[in-house]
Structure formats: C-alpha cells, structure tokens
C-alpha cells in the first residue's frame, strides 16, 4: 500500500527561525512528489519534484528529493507569521493510465510566533 509519512506532526518556532519539514514515502512506481501549503482553505501548490538531488527554490522556501532514500525535505528560512499553516506532502504513484492520483501524508502543522 502506498504510504507517505511526515514529521514532525507539529512545531512552533519564532519569526526568523529556519525550519525543516520531512516527508518519507513508500510508493509503487514513483512519478513525482509534491508539497502543498494549507491554510484554512484549499491546499495551494508549492513544489513538484521528480529528480533526485535537484533543489527547487521559491523565495524563502526550498525543497529537495532523495529517490534512493525515499524522502524529501522542505526548508523555510527566515520564517514569518504568514508561514503558519499545514504543510502537506503528497506522492504520485505511476503505472496508471492517468496521472495525478496523489497520496497525501497527514501534514506538519507549523506555527510561527511573532
């Protein structure tokens, strides 16, 4: 069974801190790994990773994938209160005719205190 495990479940940091969120997975025929940010509404897309070792970066957020060890990390530097959210990791299994059937982890709840 395809599985995604995120850690930690939650954390509280102060503004300006750097955080690292972890995502490990077991999936049949891996196609991609995606990170989403979920505030009190729809999950919004952050990154899609398909290749090992290539860092994706967007402002203060970055992510990297290790397909050998089956994990990904999401880094947030110089955190701001607006970064407070649930961060979801999802994996897209391959092999099917249609893509995008995502398997989600339970998420990491991040709270940034001012």
């Amino acid at each position: 069974e395809d599985k995604v495990v995120q850690s930690p479940l939650s954390l509280v940091v102060h503004e300006g801190d750097t955080v690292t969120l972890n995502c490990s997975y077991e999936v049949t025929n891996f196609r991609s790994l995606l990170w989403y940010k979920q505030e009190k509404k729809a999950p919004t897309f952050l990154f899609m990773l398909t290749s090992s070792g290539i860092e994706k970066k967007s402002g203060r957020l970055s992510s990297i994938l290790d397909k050998k060890e089956l994990f990904s990390i999401l880094n947030i530097t110089a955190t701001q209160t607006g970064d407070s959210a649930v961060y979801l990791c999802a994996v897209e299994p391959g092999g099917g005719e249609y893509g995008n059937k995502l398997v989600f982890g339970a998420g990491t709840i991040l709270r940034v205190k001012s």
Partner: protein
C-alpha cells in the same frame, strides 16, 4: 482564470440524513477528484473522473457515497445516509491531464465543503 468552485461551504446534518456537494472544475480540466479530509489527517482520494468516466473509486464507500460527472464538467458527491464518521472537509480538485499524455503535476483544489454530522 476562475478556480475550482464548490458549494455549499458548510453543512450540518444529523446522522442518517443525506447531503450533496457540488463542484465545478477549472474550465477545460479533464480530470476531477473528490478528496475527503478528516480533521488532523491528509486528504484521502474518494473518486477520480476522467471526463465523465470513473477512473478510480476504490476508496469510495459505495454503500453510502455516490458521485457523478454526467457531462464531463461539473460533479456532485452524495452521501446517504450520513454517519458521524463522515464529518470532514470534502475537497474537489481538477487537473488538465489527458489520456496518454502522462502529465504529472499539481492539482488545483477548491476551498472545500465542511460537513458536520451530529
């Protein structure tokens, strides 16, 4: 570009009653998904449509849940009769991928319909 539209945003019902949720995906998106997100958990796929056909409904509790996408555009998810454990946010998502193109990429989510079953 208009996003994924869902309604109602909130619904409170008593157990054994029925409820229906509606979703209108982004125009031109062939694939539509319904996810169930229980508090404290990640979204779980209930059903995936490609145009008006069902691709995957392996995790849909078919004794009480049903979904349709008759014209390959908007979709309705129904629960009848509802149970306490159905309390969750029901997220609709769409993506533009087409058969054979094998496109991987993001899903575009609606804001969800929050169901409370008392």
């Amino acid at each position: 570009e208009a996003g994924v539209a869902q309604s109602p945003r909130y619904k409170i019902i008593e157990k054994r009653q029925s409820v229906a949720f509606w979703c209108n995906p982004i125009s031109g998106h062939a694939t539509l998904y319904w996810y169930q997100q229980i508090l404290g958990q990640g979204p779980k796929l209930l059903i995936q449509f490609q145009n008006n056909g069902v691709v995957d409904d392996s995790q849909l509790p078919k004794d009480r849940f049903s979904a349709e996408r008759l014209k390959g555009v908007d979709s309705t998810l129904k629960i009848q009769p509802a149970k306490l454990e159905d309390s969750a946010v029901y997220l609709c998502a769409s993506s533009p991928n087409f058969m054979g193109q094998g496109d991987t990429g993001e899903l575009f989510f609606g804001e969800g319909s929050r169901l409370t079953v008392l």
